[in-house]
């Protein structure tokens, strides 16, 4: 039976499911309400409270019956005590409270039978204010007397009432929350999968949930596969081009070493070949820079940064290091080394100097590379991170690479769940900041 119900639910579409959830909620709400009213109805006062209320009511009725019409309001006020308040009003309709206390009424009438004739009504106050029990009865001329009083046990009743009203509500909310979440869970998986789309190997989302969702998931899985395939094709093509061009380049390079070649021509062509090699290398570095095939390893990132700075300084560059001397992180060493190296090279190339610092910042390591160059126009910073975009169009040819330097950095850093931030320093020059989590997520 349960199995068939579950099977039926599984076949339902998203609207049907939500409808079913709604229906279930309404049914439970209905059942809970009925139960609460049942409880209220069967509520009994303590005997002395019932007697006190009955006596007060009988007294009030007799007194008010005999009072003149225009004095009744004042008489009602005089009869009121702090614990038992009375109000008289001209004949009017009265709204029956949903929380009628028929048992209590019976108790009161038992003590003062004459009240039965006066159309007595007793209910639980909805808002605790003048008292926790309220009610009304009619005088012989059909005018209305309302009263409010406190009953000792009624206080407990109020708490019980609130709990018994609120608890099922809360349970209902919780239930509805769980059910709706459950229904929408495949959708959330789908959203998660969409975020990863295009980075790394495809991760098929399990086909679960209602029909519409299942179709969507299937379509998305197919799309993932297609995107992955086209990325793989692109990567392979780029690698193949890079690889295959190296052999003719090697031939050209060796042909130039022939003695018959004019030294000037040789130098020019050597330079061209070197530039082509660098372009090909940067394509390969870009394709490799996510490095997902390489496992992460523990490295000393502070020593890595300092070593790159030392290497540059040893070759005569204006590079300095400051900051901590040791900090271990777990990353893919080759892409991260290349990323740091690219930032330092950029700083040296465009800024003429590089100031590198590494510091620990909470659960992350922050590597900052500053230069005193012209920086990047603010509106072009985003462009600088795009592959194959070169900002210095005028001087394009004097720089090695294909505008892949920063994209390589970003790709490598992202693979480690880190971030790359580029901004112009207020005092001039560019600041590149890499943040890497100390523990891989």
């Amino acid at each position: 039976m349960t199995g068939r119900l579950v099977a039926l639910f599984r076949r339902m579409g998203l609207p049907e499911r939500l409808l079913a959830v709604l229906l279930l909620v309404v049914l439970i709400e209905f059942a809970a309400n009925s139960f609460v009213f049942e409880r209220v109805d069967s509520f009994m006062l303590r005997r002395d409270d019932a007697e006190r209320i009955a006596e007060n009511l009988v007294l009030a009725r007799r007194t008010l019956e005999h009072a003149d019409l225009d004095e009744r309001t004042d008489v009602a006020r005089v009869l009121s005590t702090e614990r038992f308040q009375l109000q008289w009003s001209a004949p009017e309709g009265r709204r029956r409270s949903a929380l009628g206390l028929s048992n209590l009424r019976a108790q009161v009438i038992e003590t003062g039978p004459e009240l039965a004739m006066a159309d007595l009504e007793i209910h639980l106050e909805e808002l605790p204010g003048k008292g926790n029990i309220g009610g009304s009865f009619r005088l012989s001329d059909n005018s209305l007397v309302r009263f409010h009083t406190h009953a000792n046990a009624a206080w407990k009743l109020t708490v019980g009432r609130i709990v018994s009203l609120v608890l099922p509500m809360l349970l209902l909310f919780a239930l509805a929350w769980v059910l709706v979440r459950q229904t929408l869970k495949p959708l959330r998986n789908l959203i998660g999968a969409t975020r990863h789309l295009g980075s790394g190997p495809p991760r098929p989302v399990p086909e679960r949930g209602p029909d519409e969702l299942r179709e969507l998931i299937r379509a998305l899985n197919e799309m993932q596969e297609r995107i992955h395939q086209s990325l793989v094709d692109r990567t392979q093509t780029m690698l193949a081009i890079g690889h295959d061009l190296k052999t003719p380049l090697a031939r050209m390079r060796l042909r130039l070493d022939d003695e018959s070649v004019d030294p000037e021509v040789r130098e020019g062509l050597s330079h061209d070949i070197e530039e082509m090699r660098m372009l090909l290398d940067s394509i390969q570095a870009y394709v490799d820079s996510d490095g997902r095939s390489i496992p992460p390893e523990r490295i000393d990132i502070a020593v890595m940064a300092e070593t790159l700075v030392d290497t540059a300084a040893d070759h005569g560059a204006d590079a300095t290091y400051s900051g901590i001397s040791n900090l271990e992180v777990k990353v893919r060493p080759v892409p991260i080394r290349r990323a740091l190296s690219n930032l330092i090279e950029n700083a040296l190339h465009y800024g003429g100097n590089a100031r590198v610092s590494v510091r620990r910042d909470g659960g992350a390591v922050e590597i900052v590379v500053d230069d005193d160059g012209p920086g990047i126009p603010d509106d072009r910073i985003t462009d600088a991170l795009q592959p194959f975009v070169r900002l210095d169009t005028a001087r394009a040819r004097d720089t090695a690479g294909m505008g892949l330097g920063l994209p390589i950095v970003r790709k490598a850093v992202r693979t480690e769940n880190g971030t790359l931030d580029l901004r112009n320093r207020p005092e001039g020059g560019l600041r590149a900041t890499i943040r890497l989590p100390l523990e891989p997520a």
Binding site: G242, D257, I273, T307, V334
Partner: protein
């Protein structure tokens, strides 16, 4: 099957040019590379495939193999492994993929050096000469040069040095980067543990290695190396011997 053993060129036959076997599938490049090597004074044999290479190795005495690892047929790396298993001949491998992983893999497989395409005649000749000198006894220094390939992994004080990968790992297992010159200096120290080395001697020994050397003074390099090796808060293994030079005092274990 017998393959020529690793050839150690006796000093008195230095006039006889060493024989290089060039294994390269691209015909034109093979011709050009062979010509470049001949111009540099080497005796060159060529092979277009792995099969040809085996034949040549059986028939002739070869001092060094230059191998393009992207050969058709068997994967270059497979050929490489087999060659390394059966022979001790020095190998320089040539690759079009200049990626770091390839380089490290090749060196780990036991290559003596790595050359990325495109290369110039001078570069090729320099690498070949350096490898021959290192492994082939051309080094005329009176002290024996520590054999690099014989001990790939060297340990001291919990630190580990991989000579093939040119990599230093801290006692906690983290990779600690060194500049080329620092690594060369460390390798020199590791070759002469517990011995006092003068500055000039250190410089000379470190410079004889392949790798980029810098103009930094030995003192700067030593102080950098010492700082990096002090990472764990322990005593640095390199001590200054006043007026003489430096000594690597830690015990060195080679496997």
């Amino acid at each position: 099957m017998t393959v020529a053993p690793r050839y150690r060129l006796p000093q008195e036959t230095m006039t006889t040019p060493p024989t290089i076997l060039l294994v390269e599938d691209d015909g034109a490049l093979r011709t050009l590379t062979a010509r470049a090597l001949r111009q540099s004074g080497f005796n060159v044999l060529t092979a277009a495939t792995g099969a040809e290479m085996w034949v040549t190795l059986r028939e002739a005495t070869v001092n060094l193999v230059v191998l393009d690892i992207m050969l058709p047929g068997t994967s270059g790396f497979d050929l490489f492994r087999r060659l390394r298993r059966e022979s001790d001949v020095p190998i320089i491998f040539v690759s079009a993929r200049g990626s770091e992983e390839d380089r490290v893999l090749g060196l780990e497989l036991g290559a003596d050096d790595y050359l990325a395409k495109p290369f110039s005649t001078r570069e090729l000749a320099a690498r070949v000469s350096a490898v021959l000198r290192r492994g082939g006894g051309l080094d005329s220094s009176s002290e024996p040069v520590p054999e690099m390939r014989a001990a790939d992994s060297i340990r001291f004080d919990g630190w580990e040095v991989s000579m093939a990968r040119r990599e230093l790992r801290s006692p906690s297992g983290a990779i600690v980067d060194l500049t080329g010159a620092e690594f060369d200096l460390l390798s020199t120290f590791l070759g002469y543990p517990q011995r006092v080395l003068g500055r000039e001697r250190l410089m000379e020994l470190s410079r004889s290695r392949i790798g980029d050397s810098s103009d930094r003074s030995i003192d700067v390099l030593v102080s950098r190396l010492r700082r990096k090796l002090q990472a764990e808060g322990s005593e640095p293994p390199i001590v200054t011997v006043r007026g003489v030079g430096y000594m690597f005092k830690a015990e060195v274990i080679r496997n």
